[in-house]
């Protein structure tokens, strides 16, 4: 009973927030308090659920092994949700996450419609996080499906939250249809596994699979269907078509959440399933390679910011898969023994948070509109430079640490083709990321971007700078910490 403490806490919190928001939502101040309450709830829940610590082992940096427990993942999930819900300027302007939700209200909206939409947004984010937590606590294929659906239902509503924008509604619809397909594949895999093995619990599946030594194709197909269902929802190639459109259409505040939290949950589920089965199918290697290639080649022609970030998200998922495959391939597998995956996920979280924070605040659609931003606003420029270099994998930033560990583990467990394709893809995507920097510092100022508008005082320059520097700091601190141990 007490092992489910964090979920119970979250459920109770959600119910209290719903009651509070339904009854006491009459002034703007109360609405803001609801959002702050929800985000505080999530962050405290995150801290409370970190009840097992990370155990670090390995003698030097080249042998980093992170033993990760579920508590850490749950904590990361909740803290990310809390951060995505927080905002510093709860105004109606477009340059804030809350402002975006306000603009998502119908045009002739009264105050109460705005407030109810803000309140619903908080509740939906919390319910999605609850879904991810359920996914993470599950030992059962059915509960994995329930968690995925709870999270996905919230995200379907959130992706199409801006009802006035055709882009948003279309992206929500696409996400819904393709998410349903992915869930269907997951379910048929679960039912095939049940029909072959007689159980849906992951630990029993693991025991039966290793001891029974079945040769049938049906069981393998079942397991493959489960894995493909999860990969579908992660947005890895060749199941990636919907992801780019959803990133482009959905409201930026929602997509910032979407890029971080469900992916962490799904990656952990994938690890759980693979660890319980104890073997890896060559299909996942192919998926990982394709994801990296699709991301790097697909991003070459992108001119819109959000679509570009969608392709880059696919690539990051490819690298995470590479790390998962190479760590499951080794003999001593447990849930937490992941070479580089945890660090890559951490860096991916930070990079995604900060770049979407900047995308939310800037009122631009095309990459070319970033022209001369570096000269105009030095702090934002430096922040974007650091984030982009980190995504490209330039040392000593965080992204480099993640990529190095992942590729090193891939080459170490004999997946040479995967490692080589990973590096090639990284080189090609380097062009994509460096193009932002070039546009910011060397291109003409864009005519669309009105540089004459007064900079919003509520968007401190420090924000953007801290974002990029944080990647630097986190990476350097990890390196130093390991050299000392």
């Amino acid at each position: 009973m007490w092992s489910l403490l964090s979920e119970l806490y979250l459920v109770t919190g959600i119910l209290i927030v719903i009651v509070y928001g339904s009854l006491l939502n009459n002034t703007l101040k109360e609405t803001k308090s609801i959002v702050s309450l929800s985000s505080l709830l999530l962050v405290i829940g995150g801290i409370l659920s970190m009840n097992n610590s990370i155990i670090l082992s390995g003698s030097d940096i080249w042998g980093i092994e992170v033993l990760m427990s579920e508590g850490i993942i749950k904590g990361l999930v909740l803290i990310s949700s809390g951060v995505c819900l927080m905002n510093t300027s709860p105004s109606k302007e477009k340059s804030s996450p809350l402002g975006q939700i306000a603009l998502a209200s119908p045009k002739r909206s009264r105050m109460s419609v705005y407030m109810s939409r803000v309140f619903t947004y908080s509740v939906l984010i919390m319910l999605c996080s609850l879904g991810v937590m359920l996914m993470l606590s599950s030992n059962d294929l059915l509960l994995i499906y329930l968690g995925i659906e709870l999270q996905a239902l919230g995200m379907y509503a959130l992706a199409s939250y801006e009802r006035e924008s055709a882009y948003s509604v279309e992206s929500g619809l696409k996400y819904f249809v393709l998410g349903a397909v992915g869930s269907g594949i997951l379910l048929i895999g679960s039912s095939i596994i049940y029909s072959e093995l007689g159980t849906i619990k992951l630990n029993e599946i693991g025991m039966l699979y290793s001891s029974l030594d079945l040769d049938g194709i049906l069981l393998k197909m079942g397991i493959m269907c489960v894995i493909v269902g999860i990969l579908f929802k992660l947005g890895s190639a060749p199941f990636h078509m919907w992801l780019v459109d959803v990133y482009e259409g959905g409201g930026s505040a929602m997509i910032r959440y979407f890029g971080v939290v469900p992916k962490i949950g799904l990656v952990s589920i994938l690890i759980k399933v693979l660890v319980s089965i104890g073997s890896v199918y060559e299909g996942i290697v192919l998926v990982s390679m394709l994801s990296i290639l699709v991301s790097s080649l697909g991003g070459l022609y992108q001119r819109r910011i959000k679509r570009f970030l969608g392709y880059s998200g696919i690539g990051h998922v490819g690298f995470i898969l590479m790390g998962i495959i190479s760590s499951v391939q080794e003999e001593n597998i447990s849930f937490g023994l992941l070479n580089g995956v945890f660090i890559y996920v951490l860096m991916y979280m930070l990079m995604t948070w900060w770049i979407w924070e900047i995308v939310i605040r800037e009122k631009i659609i095309y990459i070319d509109e970033l022209g001369m931003l570096g000269r105009r606003n030095g702090a934002v420029g430096l922040g974007i430079v650091l984030i982009m270099l980190s995504m490209a994998g330039v040392p000593p930033l965080g992204g480099f640490l993640g990529k190095m560990l992942v590729v090193k583990s891939a080459l170490g467990s004999g997946l040479y083709m995967l490692g080589i394709i990973g590096m090639l893809g990284s080189v090609i995507s380097g062009y994509n990321y460096l193009r932002w920097i070039k546009v910011m510092y060397f291109d003409k100022a864009s005519l669309v971007y009105s540089g004459t508008e007064v900079r919003n005082v509520e968007y401190p320059y420090v924000n953007a700078l801290v974002s990029g520097v944080s990647l630097l700091i986190v990476s350097i601190s990890i390196i130093l910490c390991y050299s000392v141990i």
Partner: protein
Amino acid sequence: MLNVVSPVGDWGVIVVYLLVGVILSVVLILASYLLSANKLGKAGDSVSEKLSAYECGLDAFEDARDKFDVRFFLVGILFIMFDLEASYLFPWALTLDEVGSLGYWTMIDFLVELGIGFLYAWRVGAIEQMNI
């Protein structure tokens, strides 16, 4: 019960059922299409007139479709939610002695959660808009 003993087991019955259904529907429609005197597409036939929209004898000047009112959909959704909640109460009521106090409190928790959902739907205005 019909006891079919055949090489394909019970599946043979279903195959026969499927085939008979498909063949019957196809034959009925195809026969009426092939044997009718006036077919679609020929000049002066009586079918294309029958298929056109009726607007009191005049030519149709506007699309007959209306914007779908989402209130109908809301009624359907809310009905499903609360009707299913009520229908879950029935087996629970009958087997309460077997599930004991854990089952009792579980159902109370379920009712409370759906009740809070109802409160939310009420305050947000999903029920107010249904003044049809």
